[in-house]
Subunit: 240 residues, 2 copies
């Protein structure tokens, strides 16, 4: 069933006050009418069955649905590519990412505006509605590599993907990690087009990140993010 | 080193006659000048080191490079989505696909023009140059499902991806298949947005296809293609 994501403040007792965007989506895009049902989610696992009423912008909550289980943490830390990050956010959400941290690299000269962050958050929300995942990934404001890595001291499940062919493959690393505990949190770090500098790799390893490779092929940064997430999601689902 | 894909007829003895597009790419985009070197590939594994000369549109072949090994066959048969197939072609090429067969579904009303096929072939060629794979995938003219499946009788390594959660997962299927012979040919069939009809699934199984699932999440068709290819490429590289 079609879903929308609501803000907790929109729910008052057993009614929902819809905003104009939600009304547009439900009535114009999905063509629902008074009496038709839909699912409202809060993006954090809570879900309700809603029903449009005759009053414009108003819906009734018919029932509280069983909450979605909180998914295992899967964080994508990715250098912003010149283009294509919208698609990365959308596809990463489909593949079950829970958190996204964009990084600014030397090749990303302009810091994206707060508007951009809102846009990515909206794309993530729409993708989570379409793929029927109850959780909307949280997207953090972009940081540069040095800001991001300082004070970090990581243990297992933190992978720094490099283009070096002789680094261990991500697939066997993740299989070993998750075979003991499929719910283990994972953080994946994907570099910019053109790869990490040797200094960045050294710093990441010093902070406890494990270097891993996505294989022999040269992947664009956007393809690399999706490849890594596809591998992790498949291994996790195989073991759960 | 930067590469271009040439047609065998462009190579005469130890010279290359470049076409206007190649001249534009080498001189305007890559800013190479007379005396600068590049790699020419035929898209079928042969590669040469070329060098621009002072004569416009003319290059010298300095040496024949070791040919790329023919990659194991990995065919993607995918229902054409409404939008996004250009990205599928590009990313599938990065992930090592060798053949692409677009399928027309009931939801794809218009048969794409021959121009579209040329465009996909050009995208595949450019992606293969950028990711430094010596092979350019072959893209066949679109067929509808019934035309495509008739006369097919397949054995192992042919996967029909369905959205049914209780179908066996693609990852374990491919691991079992490739553990004996990592070079085994694989054909992956990915359905349209909205999924296969029960009749299509029945027909595919009757032709020997193995039903497999890409997991619990609902993936868009374009994300499903890339997820499946990422899994296969990772398993193959782990075993080779």
């Amino acid at each position: 069933m079609q879903r929308i994501t609501i803000n907790p403040a929109q729910r008052v007792a057993d009614t929902l006050q819809l905003n104009s965007e939600q009304v547009h989506y439900l009535q114009r895009v999905l063509r629902l009418r008074a009496g038709d049902r839909f699912i409202a989610q809060d993006g954090q696992g809570q879900r309700w069955q809603g029903q449009l009423t005759e009053t414009p912008g108003h819906a009734k909550i018919l029932s509280t649905l069983a909450p979605s289980l909180r998914p295992a943490t899967l964080e994508l830390v990715a250098a912003l590519p010149k283009t294509g990050f919208d698609d990365v956010v959308r596809q990463a959400t489909e593949l079950g990412v829970t958190d996204i941290q964009p990084l600014l690299s030397e090749r990303t000269l302009l810091k994206p505006s707060p508007k951009k962050l809102e846009r990515w958050q909206r794309i993530a929300q729409e993708a989570s509605e379409q793929c029927e995942r109850g959780y909307v990934p949280q997207i953090s404001p972009p940081l540069n590599f040095t800001e991001w890595i300082q004070d970090r001291s990581v243990t297992s499940g933190n992978y720094f993907c490099v283009a070096r062919v002789n680094a261990p493959g991500l697939l066997p690393c993740v299989q070993t990690l998750l075979s003991d505990s499929p719910q283990q949190s994972i953080q994946l770090v994907i570099g910019p087009e053109g790869g990490w500098t040797p200094e960045e790799i050294t710093v990441a390893i010093a902070h406890g990140y494990q270097e891993t490779s996505l294989g022999l092929g040269i992947l664009r940064a956007t393809t690399a993010s999706l490849t890594a997430l596809a591998i992790i999601s498949s291994v996790r689902e195989q073991l759960m």
